[in-house]
Amino acid sequence: MIPTLLVYGLVNSVILALYALGFSLTYGISGLANFAHGALYILSGFAAWNLIHHMGIPLLPAALLSVALTGMLGFVFYWVLLLRIRGIALAELVVTFSAGVAILEILTWQGFYGIRYSLPVFLRGGIEVGGVAVDYQRLLVLGTGVVLVILLWLFVHHTRIGLAFRAMAQNERTALSVGIESDWVGSLSLAMGAALAAVAALVVLPLGVMESTIGYEVLIYALAVAIVGGLESTVGMILGSFLIGFGQVAAARFIGAKWMVIVPLAAIVVVLAVRPSGILGRFKELEERV
């Protein structure tokens, strides 16, 4: 039982981290909580499905194209929907949430629900890890999670745009004073967050069937992970996903399977009550001290 708990706890944790990575990145850089994140996630899945089934494009190019399109959509989102309300947190929340709901409802209206939509796995079959059968797709999920985190670290520490991202995250006004254009960086952060949501979708969605309602679920999980770990902290986000991921598998094992879905919600409640900034977050740290 323990090996299964470890293997699938790890897989679940990385899935959660993938859900939250793009959301956390955008928020960490531009302070923008993109509540359309879940919608962009499932939209990219259906985009890939359409590219494969209606345009006959092979899986890998379809996946790459879907990531690029979703990233561009995130970029356009910023300039069309968010530019004029930038900095007004409540308005940003309302606009991104509304855009997300609109995307999901249009997908539903267009018939993207039921049991017919399923993305193919990149590689069929699997192996045993410590006596636990795991399919290659889940291993790909693990690999993608690790590679993305490493690439992101390299990106924000060793590229000009990445450094601009960090400058914005640390202090927007100071960043402006040294010539970093905040709208440009903001839109890039949203594009990158959206592209990361698409990458997550393309490796995670083949594990099941696709429905537009998955968008809501992904948003809730991304929020849970970000709130637990700390909204602006990437390390906190990873920590949050491991807490919730392993917590779910442990809950199923020791309390009962139906309690799995309660874990992220319970984690949010506990963290907000005990440490509102999240485990590694610092936004409200001063208030908490006071």
Binding site: T4, I115, P206, T213, Y216, V249
Partner: protein, 432 residues
């Protein structure tokens, strides 16, 4: 002056003639006033969407035949729809009920067909339907609590009927198939996984009870929330416990899809049996992959998605469906019931000669209809009677298994009941 009076007289007479001429036309138009069928259900689910398509197909056929005879005049049927979203995980019962009531109060349907998707919504909506006195022929929600509630107050809930099976019937078909697995192949170790909702709990509970009584070893009985996305704990337990069979009952596509793919991925050497929409659907091979082979599913009732050679009405209905909508229904459940429900209602209206709900209820109680799903008659609790023996006596279901044909393609082969069987249950090579 006279000329003016004459002109006024002519105008008056012309107006009078117009009124007289128009009156019969108006009477004619009112005689063509449609009979409104309300469909408040979860439209963006395969069950709701395809059920509505089946209803529209039936309505089209009836209207093409001139409509329904009410009080000596033929009136067309008209369908009005409300999406309750009751089948989507996370939709509160209260929200679904609001949509239900909105349809009733705004569209004023003479009767309701299909009705609630989720059993929890059905139970809550019963009071609503009783309050507005609208005959309802439900065809999706499967909880046995429906009849228990009617039994408590038959007068209040007399407007409610169920045209399809309930979880008790579905489970009885799986139970008989489990008996076959035990008797023919000596299987006796089972693990249950179910969606933690009323009907699925009742369904799997009956399977569990039956297995215990028949000497099976039950290795687990795990309920998962409808939104679950990881089944590794239960699948690991099933594998570790050397389960030969996994009994699974789930209707929300998302969780069911994750489950079947995870079952395949974890290489659990156990036969799947129960009701798992992605495994049972005509498009299962495309959605899940070739691993659907050997899985066993119940289709309730017959004609929902699988054309049966021995029941020509199922072939006829599904051909019409495919011709009109381009493909077979997606879910292996309840579509034929939705189709039958419209004809049952139309016949009851004609017998009653009225749309008065109380008169309609009396006639609905007398229903004896031979439809796609078999012979439909209602018991005292207004539930359609289903059996295992003869479609000329009761409604029937079918259990099928995905098997490879001679040409290598996978197809759904009916294996139970015997009078519908087109093949025998096959064991996968890794179980022999």
């Amino acid at each position: 002056m006279k000329r003016k009076a004459c002109r006024a007289g002519v105008v008056f007479l012309a107006l009078l003639a117009l009124i007289v001429a128009v009156s019969p036309m108006e009477a004619g138009a009112s005689s063509k006033e449609p009979i409104v069928l309300g469909v408040p259900t979860s439209l963006y689910t395969p069950f709701g969407r395809d059920g509505l398509k089946a209803v529209k197909l039936a309505v089209e056929e009836i209207n093409a035949g001139g409509g329904v005879l009410v009080g000596g005049q033929r009136r067309p049927l008209e369908v009005v729809v409300a999406d309750t979203r009751g089948g989507e995980p996370g939709t509160p019962v209260h929200d679904a009920l609001m949509a239900y009531e909105k349809l009733i109060t705004e569209k004023k349907p003479h009767a309701i067909v299909i009705g609630a998707f989720r059993s929890e919504v059905l139970i809550a909506s019963m009071d609503l339907v009783a309050k507005y006195r609208i005959p309802q022929l439900g065809t999706i929600a499967q909880t046995p609590r429906f009849q228990a509630k009617i039994k408590k107050d038959p007068e209040k809930y007399k407007y409610l009927f169920r045209v399809t099976t309930d979880a008790l019937v579905d489970a009885s078909y799986i139970n008989r198939t489990l008996d076959k697995l035990k008797n023919d192949f000596g299987m006796n170790r089972i693990y249950f996984i179910y969606q933690d909702t009323l009907w699925a709990k009742a369904f799997s509970g009956l399977m569990s009870k039956h297995c215990k009584a028949q000497g099976w070893t039950q290795l687990g009985f795990d309920g998962y929330a409808a939104g679950a996305t990881d089944f590794s704990p239960a699948l690991t337990n099933a594998k570790a416990g050397k389960a030969q069979v996994i009994g699974m009952v789930w209707d929300v596509p998302l969780g069911a899809g994750v489950f079947v793919k995870q079952y395949v991925a974890m290489k659990v050497p156990a036969l799947l049996i129960g009701f798992i929409p992605p495994m049972a659907s005509p498009m299962a091979v495309k959605t899940v992959g070739p691993e659907v082979e050997y899985s066993l599913s119940v289709e309730f009732p017959v004609g929902a998605s699988l054309p049966l050679k021995k029941l020509p009405k199922t072939v006829e209905f599904l051909n019409k469906f495919k011709q009109k909508y381009g493909s077979l229904p997606e879910a292996a459940a309840v579509n034929s019931s939705a189709y039958d429900a419209v004809f049952i209602l139309a016949e009851a209206i004609e017998r009653a000669g009225s749309l008065d709900p109380d008169k309609l209820v009396v006639e609905l109680e007398k229903t004896d209809y031979r439809g796609v799903s078999g012979r439909i008659r209602f018991n005292e609790q207004h539930v359609a009677v289903f059996g295992h023996e003869d479609p000329n006596e009761t409604g029937v279901c079918v259990v099928f298994q995905w098997q490879k044909g001679a040409d290598g393609t996978l197809r759904r082969v009916p294996v139970y009941p015997d009078f519908l069987a087109e093949g025998k249950i096959l064991l996968p090579p890794w179980m022999k």
